[in-house]
Each structure stands twice: as C-alpha cells, then as structure tokens.
C-alpha cells in the first residue's frame, strides 16, 4: 500500500476543504421548487423544447413520488429552502487563468490544477450548478474522445445525447432521480469511440460553495465497443450550519468488450445530504467497475448498480464508507443479472466512529435467463467504539438455476491487542488506530491511482484526528 504521508495536525477539513468564498453570482434562482424555476433553468440554458418538457414531466413525477422510507431519515430535508440553480460565471474556461479569481483560488486551494498537470488526461470543474473549467488532452480529442460538460453535450452532440440520456435511469426510477431530471445542471459527458483506450484518468471535481445550495449534476458515459476509460470524481463543500443537497444521476453504457471504471472520493462537508443514483448497463463481455469512497456528508444514500445485459458481462462494486459523529452512510451496490454467464462482486468496507452509523444495503437479482451466473458479496464493518453502529441489509432474488451466490459479512472492533502491539513500538494511539483503519480499507485503497490512495489515507487520518465537522 501507499505510504501514509504525515499531515500537519493543524490542518483540518475546515481549512483544507471547508472554506467558502463570498457569493458573486451571475444568476441565482429563487429558493424553492416549482414549474417556473424549472422553466427558468431550461430557458437560461437555451435548451431544446424536448428537454424543457422532460424537466417539467420529471418535476411532476418528483411531486407524486413519496419519500423513500426504507433507508436513512430524510424527513429533515426542506425542499423549499434550497437554491436549485446557481450560476457563478458567465462562461466556461479552457484555462484556469480565465476563471473569476475567487473560483480559481478555490480550485488552486483544492489542488485540482496541480493534479491535472501531474496525472490526468482531462479535467472538468463544476462550481455550484455549472461546469466552469474544462480540458482534454488534444491527442484524445483527435481520437474522437468526447469529454465535456453535459449541458454542452446536449448542444453540441444532440443526436448522441438523445440516444442515451435517461435510458439507463429514467426520471421515474426514484424520487431523487426525478428531482435530478427536473433541475439537472452540469455533470460530465464522455464518449469513448470503438477500440479507444483512455489510459490516463479523466477527472471531474464538484464543488458547492453557497449555503442551502442544491447541486444536481448529470453524468452520462458511453464506452463504445472495446474501449476503456477511467473516470474519477471528487467533491467537497464548505461547512455551514444549514443543509445543502447533492443529488446526482450517473448513467453509464458499457458496450461489447469495453471496460469502464468509475472512481468516487466523496468528501462532502457534514451538512450535505448526498442522494445519488448511479447505474451502468454492461453488454457482452463488458466490465463495469464502481470504486466508491464515501467519507463526508450528513447522510449518503448511494447504491451503484450494474445491469448485466448480455453474456459475459461483469460488474464490480468496491465501496468504502466512513461515518463519524452525526453521519449516516447508507451505501452498497446492486447487481442485476439479466443474461447467462454474467458475474458480479460487491465488496463493502465500512468504518463507524464517534456514534456514526454505516449501513450496507445491497441487492442481487438473478433473472431466470441468467443461467451459470456468479455473484459474490462481502461486507466488512469496523467499529471504533461502542457508540457507533453498523447494519447489513442484503437482498437476494435468485430466479435462475445453476447460479453461484456467496455472501460474507463481518463486524469487528479495533482490538486492544492490535493497538497494544502497535503502541508497544512507540506509535501513538491515534496513529495506531489510523493505521488499523487504513489497513482495513487497503483492499480499496490499492485499487486507486497512487495519488488518490495517498489522499484517501490522509483524509482517513484527518477523520481519525476527529477534527472534521
């Protein structure tokens, strides 16, 4: 595993991620949600009529659908107190220098331009509702790779867009996919042509700055036959006393023989509700991998899923959740086996500390045609103290024959023996606990590019020092 770099213990979330800059917006919609706001968003974006109608229809669905009552407690969300659309800059830049100084300073402080220079093939930066910065290596553009924000994609690639948009996650899928469909803004659009491999990761960075903000990015990734892409998203927000809402929809299509890896390091401040729908369709011999790290937020509900549509399709979810004081991470994964000879694995690692709560929620569905399919689920929970809590909610529906379905779950505590052993070598209690936690999530960390593994270990260290939130 990567070496854990020492951090200055004086640095905490507040300094590194939790700062905010004064609001200077080009446009800020009124608080609350109604057809006029939705029409206004669509008008601001100069969208085609079909999209305006799609949004209004989605709003209706959102209103009719009840709040989900099976997961975390969402009753505290006040939908009328949220700003649904906030535009901070009137144009999108290809150069960090062209951004408004406050916004540039924000990303500098978060280290995004530096990361781009060092190890990324393309970067997208979303600030509030809109993508403010975008870049892609020229070589990839020449190969026909499209990496742009979703609004631009609707404008510049209307046919491709319309063919796939909303096909993986329709508005009526759930209450929050309906909400996103009504007020979506920003997000990433990626198209990788047949046989093209994007060997260096593409990254999007989502930043909420304003209070009571709602961020509803919409991401659509299409991996054409035999292609490969690794997309990474990071997200942070300032610490406010009132709540913000992040509700994204991510749709991915992985065609025959292609592979897509989607890595998330979610590090929202603890006043953010993070309610995200992520789903991929994997076709013949295609591979979809969700690598999903959830550290921040007040409540996260997120279950990345893969529909294994054709023979040989493979789905992986590897997720880590860390819940500290006042946090509830309700995360997991779903694997829907539609075709024969499909395989899936879900590996979930959760850590609860200082009264935090983690839940694993998973669904394995194997349809009658999905003969000879295999699925394996493993969830491990680590509790750091007696106040914290972890639950497991696995749901399995198997309607096919000759399938292999495995499930393993463990709950453990940081043992006194491990602590004593490490401390007997001169390592402080706090550092020993951090090592044990980093060791626990090592199966996850080792899947990350080195820079992100280092960053994740550092974030865990911050969480362990109790300075977050």
């Amino acid at each position: 595993m990567a070496t854990v770099p020492k951090v200055d213990v004086g640095t905490d979330y507040k300094e590194k991620y939790g700062f905010f800059v004064p609001e200077e917006y080009v446009f800020k919609a009124k608080r609350g949600l109604n057809p006029d706001i939705v029409k206004e968003i669509s008008w601001m974006k100069q969208e085609p009529e079909w999209m305006t109608k799609f949004r209004l229809r989605s709003l209706e669905i959102f209103r009719k659908k009840p709040m989900p009552n099976w997961g975390a407690d969402l009753s505290v969300i006040d939908f009328e107190n949220i700003f649904y659309y906030l535009k901070a800059s009137d144009k999108q830049s290809k150069s960090w220098e062209d951004l408004p100084p406050d916004i540039k300073a924000t990303y500098d402080r978060l280290g995004v331009p530096e990361a781009e220079r060092k190890f990324l093939a393309g970067v997208s930066a979303q600030y509030e509702s809109e993508v403010v910065y975008h870049s892609l290596q020229e070589e990839l553009t020449k190969k026909g790779v499209i990496f742009t924000d979703t609004d631009s994609a609707l404008r510049d690639h209307p046919e491709l867009f319309k063919e796939y948009f909303g096909t993986v996650i329709p508005p009526a899928d759930n209450k929050f996919s309906a909400l996103n469909s009504a007020v979506w803004s920003g997000g990433s659009f990626i198209y990788v042509p047949k046989g093209v491999r994007v060997d260096i990761p593409l990254q999007a960075y989502f930043r909420i700055n304003a209070e009571n903000m709602g961020q509803f990015e919409r991401t659509l990734i299409i991996c054409d036959e035999g292609s490969f892409v690794h997309y990474i998203e990071g997200c942070t927000a300032p610490i406010y006393t009132t709540d913000s809402l992040h509700s994204a929809v991510v749709e991915i299509i992985v065609k025959k023989g292609a592979r897509c890896r989607y890595t998330t390091i979610q590090n929202w401040s603890t006043n953010v509700f993070n309610l995200v729908t992520k789903r991929a369709m994997a076709y013949a011999d295609a591979t979809m991998e969700w690598v999903d790290g959830n550290l921040g937020s007040q409540i996260t509900m997120k279950y990345p899923s893969v529909y294994l549509m054709e023979p040989g399709a493979k789905g992986d979810v590897l997720s880590v959740a860390f819940a500290g004081k006042g946090q509830h991470q309700d995360a997991g994964g779903k694997m829907i086996h539609v075709a024969p000879n499909t395989t899936s694995t879900i590996t979930s690692k959760s850590i609860s500390k200082a009264g935090g709560r983690t839940s694993y929620r998973g669904h394995i569905k194997i349809y009658p045609d999905a003969k000879n399919s295999k699925s394996f689920v493993k969830c491990d929970a680590l509790l750091l103290d007696d106040e914290s809590r972890s639950d497991t909610y696995p749901y399995n529906d198997v309607d096919a024959e000759n399938v292999t379905l495995g499930h393993e779950a463990t709950v453990s505590k940081v043992s006194d023996e491990q602590l004593f052993y490490l401390m007997s070598r001169g390592i402080t209690r706090n550092e020993a606990e951090t090592m044990i936690v980093n060791g626990f999530i090592e199966p996850f960390t080792k899947e990350l590019p080195l820079e992100y593994a280092v960053e994740l270990n550092r974030l865990i260290q911050l969480e362990m020092e109790g300075s977050v939130g």
Binding site: M1, E417, F420, L422, R425, G426, F440, I441, E442
Partner: protein, 261 residues
C-alpha cells in the same frame, strides 16, 4: 541505582492477584533470565512492564531514566527505550511490514510529521533493513507482507527480533521467544540478540525452558513461582533447573520443550 528497576511490583488480571511483589534491577549490558512454570506470572510480568491495558497494577514501581514507567502509555514506554518481543505477535491486516517498521522507527525518533530532520531517509532505512535481514536469515519478500499475516511461528519470532534490531531499545524484554521455534530459528534469533548485546542494552528473557539460554547466555537467572522470585543467582541456577525442573517448588513440569518439526 540500576538502569532499570522493578520494585515490589504487584499486578492482577480480572481481579486475580498474579504478581505478588517482584523486585529486579537490570543494568544495561546485562542479560537476565526469568524462568518459571506455567501460571507463575511470567506473561503478566512482561505485559505489565509494557503497559497492556488488560493488566492492573496494584502496587510497586518500575523506574527507568528517572521515571516511573507504570504511569506511561505503552507508546511512551517504547519511545523511552523499552521493547517487548511478543510471545504471540499480533496480525494487523493491510499494513505492510515495511510501513510498520518505518512508522515505528520514525515514532521512536520523535518524528511527529513536522520536523523532517527526524524522519528516517529511504536510503538509511534500506541499508538498516538489509543488514538486519541478513543476520536473521530473512529475505526481502517478507517486507511487503502484512504485519504477521500468514507468518509461520519462526517468521513471527524473527520479525520481532528484526523490530528490536531496528528500534534499538535500551531495555528489551523477550517473552517466550523460543516457544514454537525450530532449532535453526532459535540459532538465528539468538545470533541476532547476541550481536545486539553490549553496554547499551539490558535484556530480560522470560522463558519456561532452559533451551534458549544455551544460545543466549544469561548473566543472572531468577526463578518466578506463584508471582514471586523464589531463587536468584548466576547461570548455575539454569543448570540446576535443567536437572530438577521446578519440582522443588511443587511443579512437576518438564523443562525440555517438545521438539518442533
């Protein structure tokens, strides 16, 4: 006064009195062996000295460098210069031995993430490791493995001594280091310990059997029975135990270990 003084140490486990007043003075440069039958309090002694939270100190003191270490956390004791080679080294998954050794060495040197001059350099660390691995007949392949994870009995004990060699304590407690070891491993471990012997190191070997004392010659031998020393002397005490065992104190236990394959 001696470099490391255990004075009238009394300790209990889950309310049961185990150590009933142990007094022992160790100077750097000396090797002491504490021998005793099962249940005599040997492991309570080692755990209490290092500060395991499951052992309660009921009285006495342990003075090292002018401090009563019984008031210190285990990590503070280690940074002061104490070391315990565990009888049963603990598995910590996901952390490589390299990472562990480097973190421990940095901690020992007082590196707290700020003063980079205290941090061990990669070059220094590599050369330090290389030499010690050779002495213990271990190869590099052991370094990326997780702490004690899947290690054989012999590998675990050698890894303990490797940690000792890297951390260079002034007082080292070897708790049943020979148990579960084949004869070759005992020789390698003993060779490594003997190399470290010198005016800067005091050693306390805790053992049931005399076997390890054939390879690491003690200066003093103390017999612990029912939480108290019943006999102290030079190496001849071990020879006497070799012949009579602990029978004169009412314990009819074998002093020869079963041969380990």
């Amino acid at each position: 006064m001696a470099d490391f003084e255990i004075r009238d140490l009394r300790a209990s486990v889950e309310g049961k009195e185990i150590l009933k007043g142990v007094t022992l003075a160790i100077n750097k440069g000396e090797v002491h062996a504490v021998m005793g039958p099962n249940g005599s309090g040997k492991s309570t002694l080692s755990h209490t000295l290092m500060g395991h939270p499951g052992y309660t100190v009921d009285g006495g003191s342990v003075i090292f460098k002018g401090q009563n270490v019984l008031a210190l956390q285990p990590d503070e004791r280690a940074r002061l210069g104490m070391f315990l080679a565990f009888q049963y080294p603990v598995v910590v998954p996901g952390i490589s031995m390299t990472n562990f050794l480097r973190t421990a060495l940095n901690a020992k040197r007082g590196y707290d993430g700020k003063d980079k001059s205290k941090q061990v350099t990669p070059k220094e660390f590599r050369s330090l490791l290389k030499g010690e691995l050779e002495v213990l007949h271990m190869d590099d392949s052991f370094l990326p493995r997780y702490i004690n994870d899947g290690f054989s009995g012999g590998e675990k004990k050698r890894a303990e001594i490797l940690q000792m060699a890297i951390l260079k304590p002034e007082i080292a407690i070897l708790d049943e280091t020979d148990s579960g070891l084949d004869i070759d491993s005992i020789k390698f471990v003993a060779e490594a310990v003997n190399r470290m012997r010198g005016p800067e190191l005091g050693v306390l070997i805790i053992t049931h059997y005399t076997r390890i004392l054939e390879f690491i010659k003690p200066d003093y031998v103390h017999v612990l029975v029912d939480g108290k020393f019943v006999l102290s002397g030079g190496p001849e005490v071990a020879e006497r135990l070799e012949k009579t065992g602990y029978s004169e104190w009412g314990h009819a236990e074998e002093l020869k270990p079963e041969e380990v394959a």
